[in-house]
């Protein structure tokens, strides 16, 4: 379930983003606290309005935030579902309190509570709901995206390696919310072909 133990490219990019954000935040926090502490030392009074307000208040945050914003935008663009040659499309339909998954490559297969995907290939999940709002989230693979009545949202996920990854609904949906969970099972190439061919997962 951990955001900082990624198992796919999207989650890894965001985990890196987090460590950058954390380092920057710690540095800025240290700077502000240091300046605050120094105000209490015995000294001659120093610093005009200009240094404090224009320098530290305006220029400093504008520079930091500008670069951060650019970084965030680039990362966000990279994570968008784009055309890819080996793309797999699946559909996730939420309801209180279960998930059904269907597959573009195997139109008559529907699985309950377990989403099958091939490992090492980009997968687009088309997310929707039949009742209230839910959210599709597999923390080790990617960020979350909401399932909203009447809308279909598309999320790109990918797992580096075969295995099982925990998924949860992460939009509060009433009494059964805690148990509104699912599993993503990433297969190797053989396993995926077997699954599509109708083999028992």
């Amino acid at each position: 379930m951990s955001v900082v133990h990624p198992a796919g490219p999207a989650a890894a990019t965001i985990a890196t983003l987090w460590w950058v954000l954390l380092a920057g935040a710690v540095a800025i926090f240290g700077l502000v606290m240091g300046l605050l502490a120094l105000a209490f030392r015995p000294r001659e009074s120093t610093g005009g309005d200009r240094v404090w307000i224009v320098g530290l208040g305006l220029v400093f945050p504008l520079a930091v935030l500008g670069s951060l914003l650019a970084y965030g935008l680039v990362v966000g663009e990279r994570l968008l579902p784009r055309e890819a040659p080996d793309l797999v499309t699946v559909r996730a339909e939420g309801r209180q309190w279960a998930w059904s998954f269907s597959y573009a490559d195997a139109p008559d297969r529907v699985t309950e509570g377990v989403l099958h995907i091939p490992a090492g290939r980009p997968v687009d999940v088309e997310i929707t709901t039949v009742d209230v709002i839910h959210s599709f989230w597999v923390p080790r693979l990617a960020g979350k995206l909401d399932a909203i009545p009447g809308h279909v949202n598309r999320l790109r996920i990918e797992a580096w390696a075969p295995g099982e990854y925990a998924g949860v609904s992460s939009e509060y949906s009433g009494p059964g919310y805690r148990e509104h969970v699912f599993t993503v099972r990433a297969h190797d190439a053989e396993g995926w072909s077997a699954f599509l061919a109708g083999g028992t997962p």
Partner: protein
């Protein structure tokens, strides 16, 4: 008249009634401010108790303490109480108490409105707490997303309690905001130009305007959702042309400004206290005013950052991401201006300063995690996890509760007239600050490890157990600290030794009076020549008490004060404020009848209560004004000012103006919602549009025209010949025309359950109809007042108020009915 005689005479005029009835009938801001503070602190206690239940539940995995049904009510009510019944009323209470004193005046602009708001808050809040005791409290989360909160997800009464109770409570926010804006703009000490105002007043001006423009979208959303739940009007149901995302837009259009509505008063407190603690004046007054205003403006441009995971296109998100990070800039301006103030002053580590330091440490972390979640991809991971829970607690506790604790300790000597003697406050400080950081640093971490918010328990084996346990222990330590603050405040208020006036050496006017403050604040109103009147003239309190300022000679039973010109602060009008009355509490009770009728589906009670409110409102306005021409009033120091009933912009005109700004925002939100459904909701266009025909547009146009003309003709007639009748008749005809046109629109969209479009037409028509009926009622009342002698060629100000309502009603008629009818006319 010596100072003591003046004190006795003024106290007799301004004090509340003796005995317990005094609490129910008081309209004095000294009482109401304290009552707001006590009520808010009580709700904080209840909300805090719920927080402890949550932490007890989460302390261990697979906890059987609460099941999901109970837990869902507990966390929903914790958020709801802290946001709506604690944070906003607390700063309102502080403002109600302090603002007139800082501005150098005797009371707020509309004392009875303030009392009415207070009682609406208490009654509405009690409804919510009672529902918790009855086990039917709201359980859809404090932001109430439909369809979960609508009939589909919550068939019981729980959601209705939230929608109806909170809307009832919001009456108090709107009325306090109107009162605060008008007070700041008009009710100041003579000579206090805008640039000499205490910085707190600037902050509160921004906050009050934000309340007037930030709350209406949510009030509208609540009305629409309740209409959907009660009458099946499908605004949020996708199959009938609604869209659940509409609620999220309306809610966060309120919800994000709300964060700054809560933060800015706290920043105003810091800007007031910190320079005093640093023994200098605030660095960069103009910059700080600019920062507060730009925060207010920017905060309306970033509501979508609560909706980064709803599937809005990435470039759209980029705009809101930029706005969300940009909002850190004016915050940084303030933070560094404060640190610069400390660097260039000689700061002392007294208890209020300790709390401000805790504010810095906590709020900066909250701000930094705020920038993190403003970065879209990161938000995709942590949205709806405990990381966001930790972030919002850092912002709200660090950015609001800690400064408010500084405020409590700073102004406690003012409220009690006592010096702090027992030193529990320092112990409480360390318990709260350390406890808080232990609790919520842990919550960040467990959020990153994947724990979702709003789950009532969790399975062991995910590395969450120890973190949650540590967090819960920190939470209990924090709670003990808050308990200690309560004991400290009560003990020091009750038994500590008498203190001196102005114990901190501050320069603002609230310290230019005896403490605890007399009911009238100032024995005479000082003339102000700078930002810190007490630094400019240390003898000012004595000269005020000697009656050397304005209005130093009490007259009869009159609660006299004066208003100033908005920008220059030149003395402008003489005003007599209303005295103690049970009207506000009775009116709040009757208003509550309408809300209870809606809640319990006793719909017959609603029109009955509305009739009661109308009768009481007429009684309310009947006590205002004058039946004789007054002429200029002597206010002392050789100055005579026009009396408020004889000016063209009486206080009521200003109050109406700002109330209409809130009204217009509500209407604008309705048009926004209509456009949103039109463009985004999947099941559009509707099966059929309203056929406007020729009659409805003609009636609407003619009605609007007459409504605009009527009050102008009435004023002309009154000032020339003392006759307003013809003009009032025209206005009435206009109101009738608009009402009939609105009725035709509603009839044209026969079934409001069929499609969100039809439901919207009903609401547009209903809105126009409501304003037309209101206008007709006002014309009736003004006619009666003209007949009773309240109007004269000199006393025409009330017609100006009518004119504001008529102009607004005309604009709403034309816009609203055009929006309803144009699609049908064009297709």
């Amino acid at each position: 008249m010596n100072a003591l005689q003046r004190h006795r005479a003024l106290t007799r005029i301004w004090a509340s009634e003796p005995g317990w009835t005094g609490w129910l009938t008081t309209v004095n801001h000294n009482d109401l401010g304290r009552m707001f503070l006590v009520a808010a602190a009580t709700f904080f206690g209840i909300g805090g108790l719920l927080a402890m239940l949550i932490r007890a539940q989460l302390a261990s995995p697979r906890s059987a303490f609460m099941g999901p049904e109970v837990y869902n009510q507990v966390f929903t009510m914790h958020g709801t109480i802290m946001m709506f019944l604690f944070a906003i009323p607390l700063f309102e209470g502080l403002t109600v108490y302090l603002l007139p004193k800082m501005l150098g005046t005797r009371d707020l602009a509309f004392p009875r409105l303030g009392a009415y708001g207070f009682w609406c808050y208490v009654f509405g809040g009690s409804m919510l707490v009672l529902s918790l005791l009855a086990g039917v409290a709201p359980d859809s989360g404090w932001f109430m997303y439909p369809p979960l909160s609508s009939s589909l997800g919550s068939p019981g009464i729980n959601s209705d309690v939230w929608l109806i109770g909170i809307t009832f409570v919001e009456i108090s926010a709107i009325s306090a905001a109107v009162e605060v804006v008008v007070t700041i703009l008009r009710y100041r000490a003579p000579g206090m130009s805008l640039d000499r105002m205490p910085i707190f007043a600037w902050y509160m001006l921004v906050v009050a305007v934000m309340i007037l423009t930030g709350f209406p979208p949510m009030i509208l959303g609540s009305i629409l959702l309740e209409l959907e739940r009660a009458f099946g009007m499908p605004f949020f149901q996708v199959a009938e042309g609604g869209d659940s995302l509409l609620w999220q837009h309306l809610f966060w259009l309120f919800g994000h400004p709300e964060v700054y509505i809560i933060f800015l008063p706290a920043a105003g407190v810091v800007s007031t206290i910190l320079p005093v603690m640093a023994r200098r004046t605030l660095m960069g007054y103009g910059w700080i005013v600019g920062a507060a205003v730009s925060l207010g403006v920017l905060s309306f441009g970033l509501w979508v950052h609560h909706m980064f995971t709803t599937g809005i296109p990435h470039m759209g998100l980029a705009f809101f991401s930029a706005a969300s990070t940009l909002v850190a800039v004016p915050t940084a301006v303030q933070i560094f201006a404060w640190i610069g103030t400390l660097w260039t002053g000689r700061p002392q580590l007294r208890l209020p300063m300790l709390w401000i330091l805790a504010f810095f440490a906590t709020f900066v972390i909250g701000g930094l995690t705020g920038v993190m979640v403003a970065v879209v991809p990161f938000d995709w991971q942590v949205h709806d996890t405990h990381f966001v829970v930790a972030h919002l607690h850092y912002v709200l506790v660090g950015g609001f509760v800690f400064p408010m604790l500084a405020a409590i300790y700073y102004w406690l000597p003012h409220m009690t007239g006592r010096r702090r003697f027992f030193r529990l406050g320092e112990t409480a400080f360390w318990l709260i600050v350390v406890g808080f950081h232990v609790t919520f640093l842990a919550v960040h971490w467990v959020g990153l490890l994947g724990q979702r918010r709003r789950t009532e328990t969790y399975e062991p084996g995910q590395g969450w157990e120890i973190i949650n346990l540590v967090s819960s222990i920190g939470g209990f330590v924090t709670a003990i600290g808050f308990g200690l603050v309560l004991v400290d405040v009560v003990v020091n208020a009750a038994v500590a030794i008498r203190g001196s006036r102005d114990p901190w050496g501050a320069g603002t006017l609230e310290w230019a009076m005896p403490t605890p403050p007399p009911a009238y604040n100032f024995a005479s109103l000082p003339e102000v020549r700078g930002r810190d009147p007490l630094y400019d003239d240390p003898d000012l309190p004595v000269r005020i008490a000697r009656g050397e300022g304005f209005l130093g000679t009490p007259r009869g039973n009159l609660r006299e004060t004066l208003t100033v010109d908005v920008a220059s602060g030149r003395a402008a009008h003489h005003v007599v404020l209303p005295g103690n009355t049970a009207l506000p509490i009775v009116m709040a009770l009757v208003t509550g009848g309408a809300f209870v009728g809606m809640l319990l589906k006793l719909y017959w009670l609603v029109p009955l209560a509305a009739l009661g409110v109308i009768i009481l409102a007429i009684r309310w306005v009947w006590t205002l004004g004058s039946r004789t021409d007054l002429g200029p009033q002597d206010v002392g120091r050789g100055l005579a000012l026009p009396a408020a009933p004889e000016v063209e912009d009486p206080p009521g005109w200003w109050g109406t103006l700002f109330l209409l700004i809130a009204d217009a925002t509500l209407f604008g939100s309705l048009l926004f919602g209509y456009a949103f459904l039109w463009t985004v909701a999947p099941n559009w266009p509707p099966p059929a549009y309203l056929e406007p025909g020729a009659l409805m547009p003609a009636l609407a146009g003619a009605g609007a025209l007459l409504a605009v003309l009527g009050p102008r003709v009435a004023e002309r007639g009154l000032r020339r010949s003392g006759q307003a009748g013809a003009g009032l008749g025209l206005t009435l005809a206009g109101a009738v025309g608009a009402a009939v046109a609105a009725g035709l629109a509603i009839r044209g969209a026969a079934d409001p359950q069929a499609h969100a479009y039809d439901a919207t037409v009903w609401v547009l028509g209903g809105y126009v109809l409501f304003h037309a009926v209101l206008l007709a009622l006002m014309v009736g009342v003004l006619g009666a007042r003209a007949w009773a002698g309240f109007l004269s060629p000199l006393r025409y100000g009330e017609l100006r108020i009518l004119r504001l309502w008529a102009d607004y009603g005309a604009a709403a008629t034309v816009l609203g009915l055009a929006a309803a009818g144009l699609p049908g006319a064009l297709t």
